[in-house]
Point group: C2
Chain length 387, copies 2
C-alpha cells in the first residue's frame, strides 16, 4: 500500500496523520527525477519528505550494480553480512538486530506483536505518542483497534515526558510508548536524562518503549544519549529504531532496523517477513555503513545548509526551532495552504501541515544550493508578510 | 532474520520445516555468484532453492540501473505503477493488490491478521497445511502459538482435500487453510474442481483460504483454474499469492503479491509495512511483467529442461512426479544424506530432505546445460544404485 492509502485507512480518527486533501498533490512529487537542481514548477525542489538530496553513496551504487547479475538468487548471505555490519557498529550481537523494510516495518511489527500479545493475555493495551510526531505507530495501533493517546508537545516543542508518563501510569494495561528523538517535524531533542528517568523507573511489564532515532546521525547536541544505552542495560521493554533513509540517502531502498535485547528481537520474529531485505538493498546498506567519507559529507552538507538557513532566518527575523535533524521547523504568518501553494508556484515542495501547529512549516535541508533557492523565495515571502 | 533463524524459532514442533543440521551448509551456497556454469565444489550449480538460472530480465536490469540516481527519494509513485501493472494484468482494481516483500510477506501478514482477529473476538483458530509443503505459513502460525494441523499428501502426492476439509469442519473455530498449487516440493497439481467444491461450499466465517500459486506461470495442465476465480466471485475469505521469485528470476529482489477482494486487502493494511517495495524492486517488477519475451524464454527454458530431465529419468528408470513447477521431485534409493553430500561432492547443490518423504529428492530445473551436468552425475549415481 502507499502512504496515502494508509492515511486514508486511519481516516479522521487521528488528526495528526491526515494529509489534508488539498495538499495531496505534493505527495506524488517525491519521485520525480532531479534535473539540474534549479527550482521550477515542472521540476520542483523536493524539500518535503526529509530525504537526503546528496543521493546514494557512490560505493553503495557500485555495490548494487555489481550484484545485479546475481539477483535471481535468494539473498540470505547478503542479509547476514548487513546484519553483522550493523551489529559490529553498535558492538552488539547480530541477534539483537531486527532488519526492516524501512524502520516503518519494525514499527509495524512492534505494534502488531505487542497488541497481539496483550490481546492473547486478555490485557488492555494503548499506544502513547507525542503530537505532532511521526504518525506511523499511531496509525498501525488504530488499524488494530486500540486507543491512541496523543500528548501535545510541551511549550519548548519537546516531548512532554511528564504527561506521557501520567498517561501510562493511569492506564490499567500495557502502554506502547512511541518516543521520537529528535522529534519529527519539530527537530527538537527531548532531554535524554528525563527519558532515562522514566524508562529506568518504569514497570517493564506495563511499559514498552519504542525509541525512534531516525535522525540520530545528525545530532550535534553533546547531551544526547542514544536509547541503545537501555539495550546495553539489558532492558527487555525497549527497542531503538534507526533508518537508512536519512543520513545514508536510501529512502527509496527501504531499509531500517531495530536494536533490542535478543529476547525482544525473538518475540518479533513471527511478525517479520523472512528474507525481507532485497540483495541490492542489503549490499547498499553494508557499503553505506562502511563509507565513512560519505557519512561525513552527508553530515557536513546538512550542517552547512542548516547554518546558512538559520543565519538567513535570523537576519529576516523568522522564528525557527533548534534542529537536530535534516529539516527546519519555522514559523509562518500566513495560511498554510497559501504558504505551501506559494512555494509550489515557485517550484519548491515543502512539508505538509502538522496540525495543531498551523503557524509552523517544515522544510527539509537540501544542498546549500537548494537552500539558496529556498531562501530567495523566503525573502519574497517576507516582503509579502507571509513569514 | 534469515531462513535458518526462522527455522530455529519454529524448532522441533513441525518436522516439515526443519532444515536438519547436517545439511545446513548448503543454505549459504545460494548467493555465491555464478561463474562459467561448470559444476565444481568451489562454484556449485545451485539447484536447491527453485530459483531461476536464467537471471533477471535485461529490461528489468536496465530499469534498476536507470533508477539508481533517484533512490534517495521515497518510492511512492513507482510502487503505484507496479500495483497498477499487476492489477491490469489480472483485470482487477489496484486496491485488490497487496504487494509484499516476497509472497512470504503476504503469507506472514495473513497469518498475523487472521490470528489477531480471531483472538480479539475470543474465537479459536488453527492453520491447516498439506505436508510436506512450503513451510512458511505453518511457521508463522506456530510462532503465534496457534495449532498447526499437517495433513499428509494423498497417494498421488497431491493435497488431500477431503482430509483437509475434515480437519476444518471438525474444528470449533476458524481455520486458515494453506493451499499450495502446484505443491512444493512435489510439483503436483491438485484438482482445481476439487478445490473449488470445497471453497464454494465452505462457511466463509470459519474458513479462510490462502492459495499459494508461486509456480502458476509454469503450469501447462489445461485443467488448472487459478484461485483468482474465487476473487472474481467476490469471496471475502480467499487470498491468492503470486511471486516474482520464480518465472521472473527475481528471488533476490524480494517481490510477491496477494490478490483478493478489496475488503480482504483492507484488513491486511495494519499488518503491512508502508512503502514496503524498494524503488529498484518496483521498477524491476513492472519491467518484468511487461517483458513478454522474457516470460516466454523463461517458460521455454523450463519446459526444455523438464523434458530432457524426464526423458533421461525414463531411460534410467528413475521415478519422478509429474511437475507443474520449475523443479522435479524424483525418487532416490540411498540415504538422503548420502545423496545430498554425493551431489555436493560433484559440485551440485540440490534440495533439502522433505520428511517424511525421505526416498525422494527435489532438484530445481536450471538451464539445459545445468541439467546435462546434473544428469551426468545422475548416471554415475545410477551405477552406484543410489537412484
Amino acid at each position: 500500500m502507499n502512504r496515502r492509502d494508509l492515511l486514508k485507512i486511519s481516516g479522521t480518527l487521528f488528526a495528526g496523520s491526515i494529509l489534508t486533501q488539498g495538499f495531496a498533490a505534493t505527495n506524488t512529487l517525491s519521485t520525480i527525477t532531479d534535473t539540474d537542481g534549479t527550482a521550477s514548477t515542472d521540476h520542483p525542489l523536493l524539500l518535503h519528505y526529509n530525504e537526503n538530496s546528496l543521493g546514494l553513496s557512490p560505493k553503495a551504487k557500485n555495490a548494487i550494480v555489481d550484484v545485479l547479475s546475481n539477483v535471481n538468487r535468494y539473498p540470505d548471505s547478503y542479509i547476514e553480512e548487513l546484519q553483522q555490519t550493523i551489529a559490529e557498529a553498535f558492538k552488539m550481537d547480530t541477534k539483537q538486530v531486527t532488519l526492516g523494510v524501512g524502520s516503518s516495518d519494525v514499527i509495524r511489527a512492534v505494534v502488531n506483536q505487542q497488541v497481539y500479545k496483550a490481546t492473547q493475555k486478555g490485557q488492555k493495551i494503548q499506544l502513547i505518542t507525542p503530537h505532532p510526531s511521526f504518525f506511523l505507530a499511531a496509525d498501525h495501533a488504530q488499524g488494530m483497534g486500540i486507543p491512541v493517546v496523543s500528548i501535545p508537545l510541551d511549550t519548548n516543542f519537546c516531548m512532554d515526558i511528564t504527561k506521557m508518563k501520567q498517561a501510562a501510569d493511569s492506564f490499567d494495561g500495557i502502554s506502547i510508548v512511541y518516543l521520537c528523538n529528535p522529534n519529527n517535524p519539530t527537530g527538537t531533542l527531548t532531554s535524554s536524562a528525563t527519558i532515562a528517568d522514566w524508562v529506568k523507573g518504569a514497570n517493564a511489564d506495563k511499559n514498552y518503549f519504542m525509541v525512534d532515532e531516525a535522525y540520530a546521525e545528525y545530532i550535534t547536541d553533546k547531551n544526547f544519549v542514544s536509547g541503545t544505552s537501555f539495550i546495553r542495560e539489558g532492558r527487555d521493554n525497549v527497542i531503538v529504531l534507526r533508518t537508512f533513509s536519512k543520513i545514508f540517502a536510501m529512502a527509496g531502498m527501504r531499509l531500517g532496523y531495530g536494536l533490542s535485547t535478543e529476547k525482544v528481537a525473538k518475540e518479533l520474529v513471527p511478525f517479520m517477513a523472512i528474507l525481507n531485505i532485497s540483495m541490492p538493498t542489503a549490499v547498499a546498506g553494508t557499503a553505506s555503513l562502511k563509507d565513512s567519507a560519505f557519512i561525513q559529507q552527508s553530515r557536513a552538507m546538512n550542517s552547512n545548509s542548516l547554518a546558512m538557513t538559520t543565519e538567513a532566518f535570523d537576519a529576516l527575523d523568522i522564528k525557527y526551532l533548534p534542529s537536530q535533524g535534516n529539516f527546519l521547523f519555522h514559523q509562518v504568518k500566513c495560511d498554510q495552504k497559501q504558504y505551501i501553494e506559494g512555494m509550489a508556484a515557485e517550484g519548491i515542495t515543502i512539508g505538509r501541515p502538522f496540525p495543531p501547529l498551523m503557524q509552523w512549516s517544515r522544510v527539509t535541508l537540501g544542498t546549500p544550493d537548494e537552500m539558496n533557492q529556498f531562501l530567495t523565495v523566503i525573502k519574497k515571502f517576507k516582503k509579502k508578510g507571509w513569514v
